[in-house]
C-alpha cells in the first residue's frame, strides 16, 4: 500500500465521486421538488454518452460533440417530461416506478437496436490524452483530471444557480414546500420542467464526459443509478450540497475499499481467507455506510425539508 497507489486510488475515487454527483444532483432536485422517482435517469446518462459518440462521429470535434450531447440530452429529457413524466407527478410512487421502468426498457433496447450490444468507444482529444506527473512515481491521465475538474466546476455553477439566482430560490422553495410555492402564484409546471431539464442535462453531461474512458453500452446507466440513489439517501433528498458531499464520500469509500480491503484484511485473516472475503466486504461498504447514516440521521446528512 504505497503512497503513490493511495494517491492514484484517491483520485479515482474523486473521479467516481464527481460522476455520481452529476447524476445525483438532478435526481435529488427532481425527488425533492416533485416527489417524483425517476428510474430512467440512468438511461438519460447513457443517452448522453451515445449522443456524444454519435456527434463525434459526425463532426470529429470533441468540444462540439460534448455541446451537441448536452443539447440532445436536454431535448430527450424535455420530450420525456412532456410525453410521460408530467402526467405522473401527482401519482403514486408505484406508478412512477413502473412507468419509468418501462422507459428504461424501451431506451436501453432502442439503443441496442440502433447501435448493437457491443460497447463503443470515443477517442479523447489529442491535447488531453497524455499523462501528467503529479509526484515521483505517480503518472495520472490528464483526461481523468479534466473530468474531476469539470465535475467540480459544474458543482460550483450549480451552487451559484441554486443559492444566488431567482430560479434557484424557487427551486429551494419548491424542495421545502412545493404546494406553497404553487399557491404563491409561481407557475409550478414550468418550474418542474426547468428542474427536469437541468437534471437531464447534468446526467447527459456526465455520460458525454465519460464516453472516452468508459465503455459506452446500452445498460451503462443501470448500476450507476443505484449508486446515485445511495448518494441521495446519504446526502438528504433535495439537497445539492448534500449530494456533492455524499457523492465524494461514496466515490472514495467504494474505490478505496475495493483497492485495499483485501490488504487490510490480510493483517487479521489468513491470506487466502482475506482474498475471498476482501471483495465481498468491499462491495458492501457503501451500503453499510448508508445504513449507518440512516441510523443516526434518518433524513440524510443535509435534508432539504426541515
Amino acid at each position: 500500500m504505497s503512497t503513490a497507489l493511495l494517491a492514484v486510488q484517491t483520485l479515482n475515487g474523486l473521479q467516481l465521486g464527481v460522476l455520481l454527483f452529476l447524476i445525483a444532483a438532478g435526481l435529488t432536485l427532481v425527488f425533492g421538488v416533485m416527489d417524483f422517482i425517476n428510474l430512467a435517469h440512468g438511461a438519460q446518462y447513457m443517452l448522453g454518452a451515445y449522443f456524444a459518440v454519435t456527434a463525434y462521429g459526425a463532426t470529429q470535434n470533441f468540444l462540439l460533440a460534448i455541446i451537441l450531447a448536452l443539447v440532445g440530452a436536454l431535448a430527450a429529457g424535455l420530450a420525456l417530461e412532456v410525453a410521460i413524466f408530467r402526467h405522473l407527478y401527482g401519482r403514486d410512487h408505484l406508478d412512477q416506478v413502473l412507468a419509468t421502468f418501462g422507459v428504461i426498457l424501451f431506451l436501453n433496447e432502442a439503443v441496442r437496436m440502433i447501435y448493437g450490444s457491443t460497447s463503443l468507444a470515443m477517442p479523447m482529444p489529442e491535447v488531453l490524452s497524455g499523462s501528467i506527473r503529479l509526484m515521483p512515481g505517480l503518472l495520472y491521465p490528464v483526461y481523468r483530471l479534466v473530468v474531476i475538474g469539470a465535475g467540480i466546476g459544474v458543482g460550483l455553477l450549480l451552487h451559484v444557480l441554486v443559492n444566488h439566482t431567482r430560479i434557484g430560490m424557487l427551486v429551494r422553495a419548491g424542495a421545502s414546500n412545493a404546494p406553497m410555492v404553487s399557491a404563491l402564484g409561481v407557475n409550478i409546471g414550468r418550474l418542474f420542467m426547468i428542474i427536469f431539464g437541468i437534471g437531464a442535462m447534468l446526467a447527459g453531461f456526465a455520460g458525454a464526459m465519460v464516453a472516452p474512458i468508459f465503455a459506452v453500452e446500452p445498460n451503462m446507466g443501470d448500476n450507476l443509478l443505484i449508486l446515485a440513489f445511495v448518494v441521495i439517501v446519504i446526502g438528504g433528498i433535495g439537497s445539492v450540497r448534500g449530494a456533492f458531499i455524499a457523492a465524494l464520500l461514496v466515490g472514495l469509500v467504494d474505490t478505496l475499499g475495493r483497492s485495499f480491503a483485501s490488504d487490510i484484511l490480510r493483517h487479521m485473516l489468513s491470506s487466502s481467507a482475506a482474498n475471498q472475503a476482501g471483495p465481498a466486504l468491499a462491495s458492501t461498504l457503501i451500503y453499510v455506510l448508508m445504513a449507518a447514516v440512516l441510523f443516526f440521521k434518518p433524513a440524510g446528512l443535509f435534508p432539504a425539508r426541515a
Binding site: I37, E109, L294
Partner: protein, 327 residues
C-alpha cells in the same frame, strides 16, 4: 388498546361472494392441465416454461403480500430469490442435497436478510424506502458477484437436483412441475389466510391510512416488518425452486431489474388480489417468451406497453377482466 380491532365486525372484510372463487379455481385448473400441451408440442420445453411460470407466480405472491397489502414498493425481492437460490446452490456444492435441508436453508437465509434489511428500510417511507431497498438489493447482487469460490459472476452449476429421503424424485420434470404447483397452492392458501387475518387487516389499514391506524393504537412498524419477512421468505422459496429447476444459480438472478419485473407482475395482475399476482406472473413470463420468439428486441414493445398501462389502465389485468378496480 388492541382489543378494539379484534372486536371489529368481521363482515366488512369477509369474501363478498362465491364468484370470487372462480378466478383462482380456473387459474389452478389451467396450470394443472398445462403440461397436456406437451402432447402437441415439445414436451420438455412446455414443462420448463410452465414450471418457470409457477415459480415466478410464487415470487409474485410473496411480493404481493408486501406491496399489495402493505404498500411497500420493495426492490429487494430479486435479492431474496437470489439468496434462496444461492443457499441451495452452495449447499449442493458442499455435497448436501436433501431437499428439506436445502429448503430450510433457503427460507432461513432469505428470511434473515429480509429481517436485517427490512428493520432498517422500514424506518422510512415513500421514495426513501424504494431507494434503500434498491441499494440493499444491489449490495446482495455485488456480494454474489464477488463469491469467487462459488463461480463469481459466472454463477454456479448444481451437480444434481436435490433428493427427498435419499431418492431423486425431483429429477423427473413432470414431478418437479407438480411439486412446484403444490407449493404455489400452499403459498396461495397461506397468503389468503394472512390477508384475511387480523394481522392482514392491520397491514392494509396502515397502508390506507397510517394516522388512523396509529390513532387506534397500532404501531404499523412490527406489522410491516413481519409482512416483509414473510414476503421475503416466500421469494426465497421461489429462489430455491428456480435453482433446482435450472440446476444453476448466478448473480443475474438478483439484478434490480428482476425486482422490477416482479413489481410489473403484481401491478399488471392487479394489486393486493393474490389471484392477480399469479395471473400477472403468467402473463409476463408467457408474453416475454412469445415476444422474444418474435423479435429479440421485445423490450422495445414491452416498455411502452408498460407506460400505457400505468397511464390508462390502473386496475391491472384482473381489473380489465372483471371490471373491478383493486389496490
Amino acid at each position: 388498546m388492541q382489543d378494539i380491532a379484534a372486536s371489529m365486525p368481521m363482515t366488512q372484510v369477509a369474501p363478498r361472494d362465491r364468484s370470487r372463487l372462480i378466478v383462482p379455481v380456473l387459474l389452478f385448473a389451467t396450470l394443472a392441465l398445462a403440461p397436456l400441451l406437451g402432447l402437441v408440442g415439445p414436451d420438455r420445453y412446455v414443462l420448463a416454461l410452465f414450471t418457470r411460470c409457477v415459480i415466478f407466480a410464487i415470487a409474485a405472491l410473496g411480493l404481493d403480500l408486501a406491496l399489495g397489502s402493505g404498500g411497500l414498493v420493495s426492490f429487494d425481492h430479486a435479492a431474496f430469490i437470489g439468496i434462496g437460490a444461492y443457499a441451495a446452490g452452495i449447499l449442493t456444492a458442499s455435497g448436501i442435497d436433501d431437499a428439506f435441508l436445502l429448503l430450510f436453508a433457503a427460507l432461513a437465509t432469505s428470511g434473515f436478510f429480509a429481517l436485517a434489511t427490512g428493520a432498517i428500510s422500514l424506518k422510512t417511507r415513500g421514495v426513501h424506502f424504494i431507494m434503500i431497498t434498491l441499494a440493499f438489493g444491489q449490495m446482495a447482487y455485488f456480494v454474489a458477484n464477488s463469491l469467487k469460490a462459488y463461480g463469481g459472476d459466472d454463477g454456479l452449476t448444481l451437480a444434481n437436483r436435490s433428493t427427498i429421503f435419499g431418492r431423486d424424485l425431483l429429477a423427473d420434470h413432470r414431478v418437479f412441475f407438480y411439486v412446484s404447483l403444490a407449493m404455489l397452492l400452499a403459498v396461495y392458501l397461506f397468503a389468503r389466510a394472512v390477508v384475511r387475518s387480523r394481522f392482514g387487516r392491520v397491514l392494509r389499514g396502515a397502508k390506507e391510512n397510517e394516522t388512523r391506524i396509529a390513532a387506534i393504537g397500532f404501531d404499523p412498524y412490527p406489522f410491516r416488518l413481519v409482512a416483509f419477512v414473510i414476503s421475503g421468505m416466500i421469494a426465497g422459496l421461489a429462489g430455491f425452486l428456480l435453482a433446482e429447476q435450472s440446476e444453476f444459480v448466478s448473480p443475474a438472478f438478483m439484478t434490480w431489474q428482476r425486482s422490477g419485473d416482479l413489481i410489473i407482475m403484481v401491478m399488471l395482475g392487479g394489486m393486493a388480489s393474490l389471484d392477480g399476482a399469479i395471473l400477472g406472473a403468467l402473463f409476463v413470463v408467457l408474453t416475454e417468451e412469445l415476444l422474444s420468439g418474435f423479435t429479440e428486441h421485445w423490450r422495445v414493445i414491452f416498455g411502452p406497453f408498460l407506460v400505457l398501462v400505468v397511464l390508462f389502465a390502473r386496475g391491472g389485468l384482473l381489473g380489465l377482466l372483471t371490471g373491478r378496480r383493486h389496490g
